[in-house]
Symmetry: C2
Subunit: 355 residues, 2 copies
C-alpha cells in the first residue's frame, strides 16, 4: 500500500533516506551499536557532522565565509537568536504570514522593528516587491516560503543591509545565489530530516558587532567555536540530513530539484485553475512551489471531497488549522506520481460534482 504523503511537516523524506536511517538505528555502519547509542564526540559522529557541513556548503555553493550549525529549538528559537546576536537598535521585517509574524513578535523584545510590508490586509495572498530597506537597520528579515498560506518569495532585494532568511519550508528546493544572505535558518522537518534540528548558515563576519549578554546556547559565536557540539546535538537528525544531502547530490543538486519542483507545482496549479470546483487565492507570481493551498468554491462539497481523497491513501491534504481548505505540500521527496494522482482525483471529483 503506497501512501501519498502531502504532510506540511514533518513530511515525506526520500525512501532510501528513511530506509538507511532506520538501518542506522538498528546497527550503525556495522559497529554493532545503534546510532542512538554512540557518543556525539566519537570519531564516527565527528565524521558525520563534518560531512554534512561540507555537503550543505557544496549543495548551496557557499564559501568559507560561512559557518554551518546544527542546532535545536526550531525556527522559533531562531526568532529570538537572530535579534539576540544581530540587533543593536532596529531591524526591518517583512510580514508575510503566520511565522513571519511570530518572528516579528520575538524581535520586538530586543529593539525596534520596522515592518516594510504586511500582507495581512490581503490575507497574506501577496508579497510586495516594492519596499525600501532603510540603510541604517541592523538587518532585514524575510520568510522565503510561507508554509501555511502558500506563498513564496521568488526574488530577494538588493541591499547592503544583511539579509536574514527563514527558509524552513523551502531550503534545498531551488538554486539561489545563497551568498546574498548573511544568515539562513531552516528547521529540518520539511525538506531535510527528522524534526528537532535546525540548520543555521551564517556569514561569520556579521557576528560580534554588538555588545549583548547572550545566553551561551543563544550565541552563534559559541556554537561556531564548538562546531555545533557545545552540548549534545540531535545526532539522529544530523545523520539523516547527511543522507538527504547525499540523495540531493546524487539527483544532480538544487538546479535539478528546482526543475522537478516547478514542474510538480505547475501541474497542480494548472489543475486548480482549470477545475471548476477549486480555486487558489494566491497572486500568481507569489505562488509557492512547496505548499499549494486551494479551496473548494462551494464549501458544501468538502465532505464529499474529503471522503474521496481519504479513501485513496492520500494523507496530509487538510489545510492549516487556522485557514481550512486544502494544502498539498509537495516537497523535494514527494514523487511526481503523487501529484499526478491527486490531479486525477480532482478531475474525477469535478466530473462527478460539477453542475
Amino acid at each position: 500500500m503506497k501512501i501519498h504523503n502531502f504532510n506540511a511537516g514533518p513530511s515525506i523524506l526520500p525512501q532510501e533516506v528513511v530506509r538507511k536511517s532506520a538501518q542506522s538505528v538498528i546497527d550503525f555502519n556495522g559497529t554493532g551499536l545503534s546510532l542512538l547509542e554512540i557518543s556525539h564526540r566519537s570519531i564516527d559522529f565527528l565524521e558525520i557532522i563534518e560531512k554534512t557541513t561540507c555537503l550543505v556548503k557544496k549543495v548551496m555553493n557557499l564559501n568559507d565565509d560561512y559557518a554551518i550549525l546544527f542546532l535545536q529549538g526550531g525556527a522559533t528559537l531562531q526568532f529570538s537568536m537572530v535579534p539576540y546576536n544581530l540587533m543593536d537598535q532596529e531591524a526591518a521585517y517583512l510580514d508575510t504570514g503566520f511565522w513571519a509574524k511570530n518572528a516579528i513578535k520575538e524581535a520586538k523584545r530586543f529593539g525596534k522593528v520596522k515592518i516594510l510590508f504586511s500582507g495581512k490586509d490581503q490575507n497574506y495572498t501577496h508579497i510586495s516587491k516594492n519596499y525600501q530597506i532603510p540603510y541604517h537597520v541592523d538587518y532585514f528579515h524575510c520568510t522565503s516560503n510561507n508554509t501555511i498560506v502558500g506563498t513564496q518569495m521568488k526574488t530577494f532585494p538588493q541591499t547592503s543591509v544583511p539579509i536574514v532568511c527563514d527558509m524552513s519550508s523551502d531550503i534545498f528546493s531551488r538554486k539561489l545565489n545563497f551568498l546574498q544572505f548573511s544568515l539562513i535558518y531552516a528547521s529540518a522537518q520539511k525538506n531535510v530530516s527528522s524534526a528537532g534540528m535546525t540548520i543555521v548558515i551564517v556569514r561569520k563576519n556579521v557576528l560580534g558587532k554588538i555588545e549583548k549578554n547572550i545566553p551561551s546556547y543563544m550565541d552563534y559565536k559559541i556554537h561556531i567555536q564548538n562546531k555545533s557540539i557545545l552540548n549534545t546535538p540531535n545526532v539522529f537528525s544530523i545523520y539523516t540530513s547527511m543522507l538527504t544531502l547525499e540523495w540531493i547530490e546524487k539527483k544532480g543538486g538544487l538546479s535539478i530539484l528546482e526543475i522537478e519542483n516547478k514542474y510538480k507545482a505547475k501541474l497542480l496549479y494548472d489543475e486548480i485553475d482549470q477545475n471548476n470546483l477549486f480555486e487558489n487565492k494566491i497572486h500568481k507570481e507569489d505562488r509557492s512551489n512547496m505548499n499549494v493551498s486551494f479551496f473548494l468554491k462551494d464549501k458544501k462539497l468538502e465532505k464529499e471531497f474529503n471522503k474521496m481523497w481519504r479513501k485513496e491513501n492520500i494523507v496530509g491534504l487538510d489545510g492549516h488549522r487556522f485557514l481550512g481548505g486544502y494544502r498539498a505540500s509537495i516537497y523535494n521527496a514527494l514523487p511526481l506520481k503523487s501529484v499526478q494522482f491527486l490531479i486525477e482525483i480532482m478531475k474525477e471529483f469535478e466530473i462527478k460534482f460539477s453542475s
Copy 2:
C-alpha cells in the same frame, strides 16, 4: 558480536526500545508512513505525547500540580531558561562539577548567584551536605549526578525554597520523592532516548511570579499552554522516550531499577577498591551509581589496559577528555553481565600486571 557499551551519553538504550524505534522509522504502527513523516499535530502523535506525559507522571509518582514538557536545546538551554523564568534577584547554586559550573555561569547573566558549596578545591570528589539555603533566594539549583567526575547526590536538602535539579544523567534511575522538587530537567540521551530532547518537569505554581520579557521558546508557561507543541518538537525522541518508559514500567518501575543500578555499581566499586591496580577518588558516600570513574594507580599501564578492554568489544570506557582515566557509565539499560565482564577484565589485568 555483542558490544559492551559504557558510553556516557548518548549511551546504551534497552534493546527492545532500539528495535521498536527502528521499526517505527520504517513503518509507524502499520500506517505505511515513517514516524519521521507524520505530522506532530496528527492524532497519532498527540496520543504519543499524551501517553509519554502520563508515563513520566506515573513512573515518578507526580501529581497534577506538575506539567511535563518535551523541549529542545539540552540541559544547556535549561541553564538559561531556569533563571529566565524563576530568577528575580538571586538564586543559590551548588558547584559540584563541570555542568553545575556551566549552569552557574548562565545564571549569573540574570542576577546574583550565591554558591553554597564548591567542590572545586577537592577536584569535585565530594558533595557537601553542610550548607544553609538562605530563605530569601528565588530558588536552589543542584545537579543530582555529575557525569564527568562520577558523584551523585544521595539526599536533597529540606527547604521551603523551590528546588531546581538537573537530573540529566540519573533521571529514571532511582526512586525519590519527586514532589520535593519544583523543577527537574534532564536531557534525554542517557537514560531515556535519542539525543536532541529535554524533559522538563515543573510544578506549575512556581511560574509567573516574576516580570520578565521572556522569548517565547524560553518561556515554560507558553510551552505548558501549548502542550510542548508550540513548534515542531523532536517527534522521534519523544516516541523513543515513550518506549523506554514502557520498558521501565514493565520492569517494575524505579524501585526495581534502583536495586539493579545499586547492585551493578556496588560490584564495580568493590572491584576497584580491592584491585591493586585501580583506584576511585570519590568520597564513598558520594559515589555515583551511574558513572563510575576510576584510574590506574600507575599511569604507565594505560596502554596495556586500553589494548585489553578494546579488543574485548568494550566501548566508551575512556574517562572524560577533561579528566582522563576511565569511566564506566552503567545506565539503566546496561546489562549486569556487561559490568561482570568488565570486572573479569580488570581481574585478569591485575593478575597479569600486579607486581
